[in-house]
């Protein structure tokens, strides 16, 4: 059904461009890029489009295709980068999309098949299939610089005659041949009757690959490869291929040295992430804080005329919506328009104070808490992209295959699992390299169990609570938490493969591409693309949930006059004192009053009420209602539990900056019966809970995006929550018995 839309769009565009043409402008030609994996197709796309590209989901399926604009002088081309294919026998959803796109006559004006100059024969297989689709085709022999270096000479004219279509030598790296490519595309677009396809003596059943079950010698594969071999031999003069694997591969695919090298590389990547990301993360944090302060300062301090206030807020809110819709690519329909107007009117009903709190704490604070992980995500994708382009990633999948198969996952799942130790989001995005959908789903589902960097503040707090400042035992807490996360992920993968996603792991069939120097530009463009996808997520689903969580913690409001008696007296006393004091002292005193107010506000809010309501659920884990408030308010971002505990235990938000005083305060907390709240058993139980619980909304949003439905995101949430609760229960009960004995 998805393909039906393409012709309609095509016609509409054609009409539009026909008018442009009469006005003197050149016609926009729609070009689809196809080709084998590892032929530098994406590098060519990046080279041609640069920043003028965007990633879009193919309608109806969760496959991403990238579109971009390529201009060559006056000429403008709309480029679509299709997923890589070895043949039109599509097996994965990505390949199906690529095939469907190629088979839809009007989806593109010209198909450019990107071939590998260093291995023309392999690319000719797909070329022969695409040729038979009767679409205007241009073959771009990419990597021509690499082929020259290897002493490979290609008779382009001869190849063009054999194929019956234009053939152009190009290099995405050096940029040579790109204007010839554009000329070839323009002339191919003008040709309505296509040249005859190469004649391959195909068996009658050629279109049914499954029918060559009994013996392949008569099937289309063999016939096409025979043709490809003959054609390549006639037009390519190449030195004999080596019968040995290269020295580099002898080491990198070695059963012992290979994994060691791989782990060393990954350790290096993590060192890079944690050492380089620190500075930009602090910058993001400070930037959001100062934007929050700035925006907070814009709100009028005194009373405002209600009509002026309403008009101002509604127009500002609508402007914000217009900007957001534009960024996220949402069009103004009746539904989205109504939503914008409704939300804009609702904001006008809020008094200035509430609106300031919403904007500063709910929106800016909530989104800032997620965007802070952007530097890590960018560095991770930069390194992964370089490793992928260099050809090393295939070797990594190769050496990890034997280890991963024990839990029923393919070797390719290892890199996402490792990335998830920085942040689950890039890990989930990196699962795209896993071909089999079932294997990919299992990997996505278990990734958030691995210890990401957002858990570190929680671990660090618990370690300090358990072992005051002793670094040795503190390290033990961290190591234990990491091991628990890895074990839980691998076990969950095993369980999922045995239960709801049964099936053998697809055995490995993998091309080990030649090593090449990765292109920096291409890696940076990949980072830019991934970062944009992440920010779009932050701008939509995450923003919405940030606002909901803000509302839960902010409402219902507790006016100062309604404070319970001891607190009310305390606040009143502080306020009076503050009024008499001057300067810093006055600020300090009123800050103290605000702090008490906030503490009671939180316990009075929906979040506080829910915390009390769920006490029976969490009591067996050793949590009191205040910890429950922490658990609930860190639903969207687990690290928020530290700041929430600081507020709910009356330390104020500044408490998080001073871990020592937070830990001191937490230690002093007593239960009704006089025992400390943060006993060893509770601390361990809290740690286990945070190792295993989902508690990360951005991850959920990305899971939904990558799997296509909320179903898998919900399953992931339910599974992890049950796992966390059960494990924390066992921990608390066991530890209680042991510590009391």
């Amino acid at each position: 059904m998805t393909t039906d839309r393409a012709p309609a769009e095509g016609t509409a565009r054609e009409n539009g461009t026909a008018q442009e043409h009469s006005a003197g402008a050149a016609r926009v030609i729609r070009v689809a890029l196809t080709g084998n994996p590892n032929t530098g197709k994406t590098s060519l796309f990046n080279r041609l489009t640069g920043l003028r590209s965007r990633t879009a989901n193919y309608p109806g399926v969760t496959v991403e295709i990238r579109r971009g604009v390529w201009t060559d002088g006056e000429r403008r081309f709309d480029l679509t980068d299709l997923p890589g294919l070895y043949s039109l026998d599509a097996l994965s959803p990505e390949e199906t999309v690529a095939r469907r796109f190629l088979e839809t006559d009007s989806a593109a004006d010209v198909v450019v098949l990107v071939a590998d100059s260093t291995n023309v024969q392999r690319s000719l297989y797909l070329a022969s299939e695409v040729r038979e689709l009767q679409v205007p085709l241009v073959v771009a022999l990419n990597l021509s610089d690499a082929a020259r270096a290897e002493g490979i000479r290609i008779d382009v004219d001869r190849l063009s005659r054999e194929l019956g279509c234009p053939v152009v030598s190009v290099s995405a790296r050096t940029g040579e041949g790109l204007s010839e490519l554009s000329a070839a595309v323009v002339s191919a677009a003008g040709e309505t009757p296509v040249l005859p396809a190469p004649s391959i003596d195909l068996p009658v059943v050629a279109s049914e690959p499954a029918s060559c079950a009994s013996g392949c010698s008569r099937c289309a594969f063999a016939a096409r490869y025979d043709w490809a071999e003959q054609t390549a031999r006639a037009s390519v003069d190449a030195p004999a291929a080596e019968d040995q694997i290269s020295a580099a591969d002898r080491l990198l695919t070695h059963p012992v040295i290979g994994p060691v090298v791989f782990l060393a590389l990954m350790a290096g990547m993590f060192f890079l992430i944690f050492s380089l990301a620190d500075v930009p993360m602090t910058l993001v944090d400070t930037a959001f804080a100062s934007v929050g302060d700035f925006v907070g300062g814009l709100f009028p301090a005194g009373p405002v005329h209600p009509v002026a206030w309403a008009a101002g807020t509604v127009s500002l809110a609508l402007l914000t919506f217009a900007g957001a819709y534009r960024l996220a690519g949402i069009s103004w329909t009746r539904l989205s328009g109504t939503a914008a107007v409704a939300v804009a009117s609702a904001t006008a009903l809020l008094p200035p104070d509430e609106l300031r709190s919403l904007v500063v704490e709910g929106i800016i604070g909530g989104v800032g808490g997620v965007v802070i992980f952007l530097p890590q995500i960018c560095i991770l994708f930069f390194v992964i992209s370089l490793l992928e382009d260099s050809g090393y990633m295939a070797r990594a999948a190769f050496v990890m295959e034997r280890f991963m198969r024990f839990v029923g996952l393919p070797g390719r799942a290892f890199v996402p699992m490792l990335s998830a130790h920085a942040c689950a989001i890039p890990g989930i995005m990196a699962t795209r390299t896993i071909e089999n959908r079932r294997d990919r789903l299992v990997t996505i589902l278990v990734l958030p169990l691995l210890t990401c960097s957002a858990r570190l503040p929680v671990y660090s707090m618990v370690a300090a609570l358990l072992f005051a400042g002793s670094p040795g035992t503190g390290a033990l807490v961290f190591t234990g938490a990491y091991i628990l996360g890895i074990t839980a992920a691998l076990m969950s993968a095993w369980v999922l493969k045995k239960s709801i996603l049964p099936g053998d792991t697809e055995p490995l069939v993998l091309e080990l591409p030649p090593y090449r120097l990765p292109a920096l530009r291409s890696a940076l463009l990949t980072v830019w693309d991934r970062a944009r996808v992440f920010l779009q997520n932050a701008g939509t689903a995450i923003l919405m949930f940030s606002v909901i969580l803000w509302a839960l913690a902010a409402w219902p409001r507790l006016p100062e006059s309604d404070l319970p008696s001891p607190a009310a007296d305390q606040v009143a006393a502080l306020r009076t004192e503050a009024a008499q004091a001057a300067g810093d002292r006055a600020e300090e005193l009123s800050g103290e009053a605000d702090r008490i107010l906030r503490q009671h506000q939180l316990s009075h809010s929906f979040a506080g009420r829910i915390g009390r309501a769920v006490e029976p659920v969490f009591r067996p884990l050793g949590f009191d209602w205040k910890i429950n408030v922490g658990v609930i308010s860190s639903f969207a971002a687990r690290e928020a539990v530290v700041s929430t505990l600081a507020i709910v235990y009356g330390l104020g938000e500044d408490g998080i900056d001073d871990e020592a005083s937070l830990v001191e305060t937490l230690r002093r907390q007593k239960r009704d019966d006089g025992r400390p709240v943060f006993s060893t058993a509770t601390c361990l139980s809290l740690l286990v809970f945070y190792v295993l619980a989902m508690q990360c909304l951005p991850t959920q949003a990305v899971t939904r995006r990558e799997t296509g439905t909320w179903k898998w995101a919900l399953l992931q949430f339910a599974w992890m929550t049950v796992l966390a609760w059960t494990a924390a229960l066992i921990t608390y009960q066991t530890a209680s018995v042991l510590t009391s004995a």
Partner: protein
């Protein structure tokens, strides 16, 4: 078809395969008599999983599922030369000019015939 086998007694090989392919594919492997017949004609068929490093000629790919298609579309299909670069699990082959890693479980479904060193050299020199 089987053009790579020039230098061998191509005709005998082809006839032998023809007979084999007339039967269901399982028979090809399971029926020891047939395999011995082939061997008698100078074509030693073994499974790719057991193949030592060096040149081999792909004779047949068993099975009809996705796995078979994944092998065949990469060129692991009858008539192609498979050069085993490293045996083991997964093993590394050179097929149609590229290195392909194949897990042992899949290599068990590929039937290959040894190519003599002389024939191998002749094909390469072309």
């Amino acid at each position: 078809m089987l053009s790579v086998l020039r230098g061998h007694d191509g005709r005998a090989v082809e006839e032998c395969l023809e007979t084999a392919h007339a039967m269901p594919s399982e028979t090809l492997i399971r029926n020891e008599t047939d395999r011995n017949d082939c061997r008698a004609d100078g074509l030693n068929t073994i499974l790719l999983a057991q193949a030592a490093a060096g040149d081999h000629e792909c004779v047949d790919v068993e099975g009809s599922g996705d796995s078979a298609v994944r092998l065949k579309r990469l060129g692991i299909c009858s008539g192609r030369r498979l050069t085993v670069l490293r045996s083991g699990d997964p093993m590394i082959l050179r097929v149609v000019g590229s290195r392909i890693a194949v897990s042992r479980s899949l290599a068990r479904s590929v039937v290959v015939a040894a190519v003599s060193a002389a024939a191998g050299a002749e094909v390469r020199s072309e």
